[in-house]
Symmetry: C2
Subunit: 601 residues, 2 copies
Amino acid sequence: MEIRFAPQGVVGQAAMGETILAAADRAGVAIERVCGGRGSCGKCRVLVSGALSEPTASEMRHLSPQELAQGYRLACQARALSDLDVTVPDASRVAGVSILTGGIANHYPIEPWVTRHTLAVPPASLEDPVSDLDAVQRIWAREGRGGLRPTLRAMRALPAALRDRGGEITLVQVDGELVDIIPGPPTGCLLGIAFDVGTTTVVGYLLDLESGQELAVASELNPQTRFGDDVVSRIQYAGERPQGLDELQREIVGALGRIIRETTAQAEARPADVLAVTIAGNTTMQHLLLGVSPAHLAQAPYVPAITQAVSLRAGELGLDAHPDAHVWVMPSIAGWVGGDTVGVLLATGICEQDELALAIDIGTNGEMALGSRQRLITCSTAAGPAFEGAHISCGMRAADGAIDAVQIDHAVRWSAIGGSAPRGICGSGLVDAIAELLRVGVIDPRGKLLEPAAVSAAGYSALAEQIRGEGRHRAFVIAPGVQLGQRDIRELQLAKGAIRSGIEILMKELGVGAADVRKVYLAGAFGNYIRPESAVAIGLMPRFRNAELTPVGNAAGSGAKMALLSRAARARAAALPAQVEYLELSGRPDFQEQFAEAMLF
Amino acid sequence: MEIRFAPQGVVGQAAMGETILAAADRAGVAIERVCGGRGSCGKCRVLVSGALSEPTASEMRHLSPQELAQGYRLACQARALSDLDVTVPDASRVAGVSILTGGIANHYPIEPWVTRHTLAVPPASLEDPVSDLDAVQRIWAREGRGGLRPTLRAMRALPAALRDRGGEITLVQVDGELVDIIPGPPTGCLLGIAFDVGTTTVVGYLLDLESGQELAVASELNPQTRFGDDVVSRIQYAGERPQGLDELQREIVGALGRIIRETTAQAEARPADVLAVTIAGNTTMQHLLLGVSPAHLAQAPYVPAITQAVSLRAGELGLDAHPDAHVWVMPSIAGWVGGDTVGVLLATGICEQDELALAIDIGTNGEMALGSRQRLITCSTAAGPAFEGAHISCGMRAADGAIDAVQIDHAVRWSAIGGSAPRGICGSGLVDAIAELLRVGVIDPRGKLLEPAAVSAAGYSALAEQIRGEGRHRAFVIAPGVQLGQRDIRELQLAKGAIRSGIEILMKELGVGAADVRKVYLAGAFGNYIRPESAVAIGLMPRFRNAELTPVGNAAGSGAKMALLSRAARARAAALPAQVEYLELSGRPDFQEQFAEAMLF
């Protein structure tokens, strides 16, 4: 059944009897919770119309009878019994920047690489003075299992654990390595965390590894931002300062640690309970996290130090988790197509499908992949941060007060995130605005903002009054204090031109046209909120008339979650780069030509 | 050919043309050197008679013509061309406690687990933008080699190393793990260090892993001694204080680090150059080093936490070596038969021989092994520290001023280590003295020191004058200020009784007599210096009339060196405990009986 979320405008799917929170998480609608969705914090209140399960005791406690009568419910408690319309009040939205914490996920069985087993070990005697470890291994082997590889910490825990509960112990293994020995039967959850490490934003998803349930989500601005907004400036910082690389590494490891502390606190657990970590980031972010120099990514031939998946212990990175937790960093495909794109490929499953599909992940860079199970090509274009609201005079991130949708006929109508007074415009609002201004003729196909007289002459006198200034300083007022200047339009032309020419070159390389594409996945915050018609109207992408368009939210994060929960998914991710081709656009003579053309509307 | 070392009284073997230093090291005669035996420090001067190679340039530089004429040579330069008599002057003996740093060694090929390989890696290009690691692995695979498993540090070193010398790099691997990547061809030695971690003394042998050459030796009193002289008091300390185990662990790791710094400085290298470490110690010392509680070793059924070999990274232990160096800790056989005994078994090779052999390693505890390739049994007896000079009124370690040999007819003759005035008596002197006093009848077979009158009556009036005091306070004066009291004799009776009853029970268990034994190996400092006739005279061991007696010096240390230099030797050591039986004497009703009898002379 369908759940329509407002004000996000996202439509999610729910199974009969599933909680609204589960559906929201999957759809990428961020709803606040502090208790991990257990009904104890009362933070996830939403306003619902449609058929729902009866209010639970927890809802009775957190909501007044009046509120219940108005339709307020707790998203973690109320279960869908029909299609629903759900309004998420400001207070229930995840604070700060609006970040997609959901996404789609392919179907892999839950088969985590962290496991636990309980054994009863008989005591040693003078006749059989077997060592503690040998006694455990003997029972382990008797159950038909292989060797045990204890870490030093597990060895240290062994003697006391073995004697605390009369020989009953629980062994905790990560990838076959024995990392902990706990007296008695299992208690609590086995925890893991999946990270999407973006250039701008870092998101962590704390999961119960056995059930696959998401217990908590938290995000933070990437603190490396203070050393440079974009990838290239950070590569420069790392290379030019003696301690630059160390500083950048410490910053990001510190941020991941804060997110681990925050999410484990929400789930009433400790960082040391986190036993598995996956990381998806672009190639540079992954290098910086490992403390490996990304210097050679910044100049031709754009060579990364490492593209294969890396597995190491949390203690080696200095990450605040169980010191013997395994941290698995996604493989990359090339210097500018990183582990985040591998996450997108894993989550969308386009490498397993026979149908021709396109995946686009738009951030500061636009990575895209076109193809199918038979052949898949990826490339990256430097779109710049315009879609994230940067380098745009009134641009801002998709946070409270950002205009995120615009409609224009004879007047301008807009909506702003959080329902508050507009403070600026974000990527999806920008694309909408330009698409609409093009349609009514306020902007011409070369990107020029017309004179008020010309607009008036075309019958849009109300819009003409919104035009201020002259020449390069001309601007169109969208809302009080929020305007779109000629230079902003030029920025957007550069950005959309880069994405569009990437798509065109990929189609050319595969020998296909837009009509051949059957599926289009739009990943990332921008991809999730953009209106496809507007994207086509400005020429960001061609019209895929035979394709189903699917916004997939934070697909890179979804890929990281899948690799965390499933050995098979992780193995698939590790093998993906070898199956995927990479196209270096800077090496192609036709790219500049294509780009010049794609900049026009 | 034979080399007789004075004042040690040790006879070593040398191949034609071998240096005196090499023969001395093997024989367990500690000769000072600071340069690692390269002829640059001039510290190893010895006085030699016999045929030698011509003086080298280094000897010309360090010795005057007069000294050369007198017979002074540098032990690291002079090569044996005949049997030799070598006197090691005080100044050339290793300073401080006299510790055996040599020992015998079985023949295993040198095949270290640290290796290095040089590769030429072609640069990446826009057409082939391969990552640094993949570029290296491609060349590596082309040479028919398997996967490379780089540590995080190696990954971090890669980008700069690859570009420093036009793609020529040297890969350094430890047990197949890629721990370092160095620009250009190999430089310097590959270093490893083997440790014998005794309850009282710690010795480290720094080896060139490719040549097998010993570059430096250093030793230190085990700093845990300040928390208790013996194993049991340290187990108590670890168990009773909240931080006790941590303290003991830090102390021993600190001592190993100091020895690494000292030996690497001697060899003009750095601690970070040490890539492999082996550890042989008794079971408790190995537990304390790992920070694993030895609490259950102190009470029946005397269960260790760990007996199998342990391999970990130096960084995990906090050891001052290359952080990714592998530390390999010998396996143990039981709670009181540890990795040091495994080292003795490996070095003597008695598990590979068809002949019945006995190995005895006497320290604070006496570990012994009897058997052959077919069947081998080990046990441990609490001899106490009498043979190390402790609990003996004038007892001292085998250091300068210790009486280490005694002969008595009508007068007492003695020699003291270092040729200086006697300050006390060490184990071998003690055994000599009691054997001689028994022979002339000053001590009776029950261990009683006779009255002067009785000694006089037996015709030893000069010896009678050396007897002082009465009853339990009676004592025999050996040298000015050094006397042997009635209680000292009782201490020695307990110690030798423990060893002897262990030997008897092992023989009984195997169903053999002393005449069946073909080889006896005496390990440890005491075993190296004791006069076998005296040991038999006091009943420490039976007369093995058909056996060859071999002092094998620090055989535990030799075993650790072998495991360091040879994968095959290390694998053999790891497999040894499964082949060896352990006899728990405290579980045997006949032990107390045997012990009571063995206490008599």
